[in-house]
């Protein structure tokens, strides 16, 4: 697998790889993909396999169930403020958006 391809995949999957990891993965991934080659003998058909039959009631009745674990969930946020999860900011609307590399006026 070529490095550019791997870089694209890593970005798509939000994985930051070291140089060493890039080299190792390039080789390993190519080998593993070869391992999948026998699948090429299969013609894709719309045969839907089922590990479990379709259930009778496909939908759920629309009613509310109050959960008591919202506080536990909030406690697990790595960073929180007033019960909101804290994450990085994104700059769009300040006066210096023209300088911000993530957004451009058009």
């Amino acid at each position: 697998m070529k490095k550019e391809e791997l870089e694209k995949l890593a970005h798509l999957a939000r994985l930051e790889l070291t140089e060493k990891e890039f080299q190792e993965f390039e080789k390993e991934l190519a080998e593993i993909l070869k391992f999948l080659e026998p699948l090429n003998t299969i013609d894709i058909q719309e045969e839907r396999f089922q590990t479990n039959e379709k259930q009778e009631n496909e939908f759920r009745k629309d009613c509310i169930h109050i959960h008591l674990n919202s506080k536990n969930i909030v406690k697990m946020f790595p960073e929180q403020k007033n019960s909101l999860a804290v994450v990085p900011k994104t700059f769009y609307k300040n006066s210096s958006w023209e300088q911000n590399s993530n957004s451009r006026r058009v």
Binding site: R60, K61, D62, H65, L84, A85, V86, K89, S103, V106
Partner: protein, 445 residues
Amino acid sequence: MGKLGECSMKIGLEIHIYPRTESKLFCACSADYVGKKGNENICEICTGQPGAKPLKLNQTVIEQAIELSHFLHGTIVEKKQIKILRKHYFYPDLPNNFQRTTEPLIIQGKFRGVNIREIHAEEDAGDYDFEHGTVNFNRSGVPLLELVTEPELYSGPETIEFLKEFKYLLDYLEFCRTGAEFKIDVNVSIGAERGEIKNLNSIHDIEIAIELEEQRQKMLMAQGKKIVRKTLHLDRKARCLFESRDKEDTADYRHLPDPDIASFAIDSKMIEAIIQQAPIHPLNYRNQLIQKGLAFSTAQTICSKKNLVKSFSKISSRCDFLTAGLFFQKHVKHELEYRNISQSIEFLNEFLIEIIQKMKEKQIEEMQAVEWLRNKLDGKTEMKISENNLETAIKQILEKNEQAVLDYRNGKQNSLNFLIGKIKQENKNQKVEIIQEILLAKIKN
């Protein structure tokens, strides 16, 4: 300056509507997220905790989609197995970093001559406040119906009219959650490629966005530059469009059928049940009323509410049509709204026929009919001719203020206001417009 060329603008819309449901799409948290404290309306499913699995799809959302399809003359995807897909992208408001969305539920609809490509359901994301760097998951998982039109709108004004009528239909059906507007993505193209302006919340913003995007593309064409597909956002304050590269333009969503949820079919029994209960089509009925002689504004008002249409359609053939129309427009709607009555008023039908006929035959004055209507709605069944009704009051004030009447007839506008003021003083709960109307009518005689 280069040739502007023949630019014919084409506009397509992706309208996201919040259907009225109790619970979220795949979990049983309340869908009524507006005004709740931060991260109070959540569970392990709608916050993407490891291991949490979706519940079965909320039935009401499918029913809503069927109802909407009926009014948009759409085709319901009946026989095929409809899958739920995972649409993957990373964003802080998306707890699983994928969004669950159904394949099209409805196809081939039409509204005001514009073809509707498809309608599907999807879960909403939470709320990422990018200025403060915080995320609130109360809204995460709330159901949305997305409606995609073909790019068959050809100007800003046409698009606005389309949306106003669409909103009119949705309000009539009481379709959307109160407090949650719809969210619209607008696709504008002059040439081969389009600009996608995302997440517009008001009709006013859409107007501006279309204008700006049209200008931008025309400018590029004039400069001989190539138009590239872009994803844009509107900065309302600065009145400009900007693009952001955080949400990738050429995103690969790696759609995967969700293995946790069985694919489903929409049962014909469910469809029948909904169509049988469906109210009268407001736009069709409005046209009928206009053809029969009502003014547009009268028909528009009557057709804005399900309960008005239901009653009017039953009674209007049994009493004077025009009188009924005006009475509904001027008074019935207001009295119902004032009392927050949105359910059926069929119990009033016979009563309304009676008072409308009495008005037509001049047995009672209009304001007397209004008073009786109010009494009826407030649980009082008396239909006495009341002495202190508005008409009488106005008559009396006119008799006492002959000079003011004369002054008005001679061109003094202030005199009219003076008279209105006097009348309002003694009839505080009457609307000024009604007072003025009756007053002027009497003065003219």
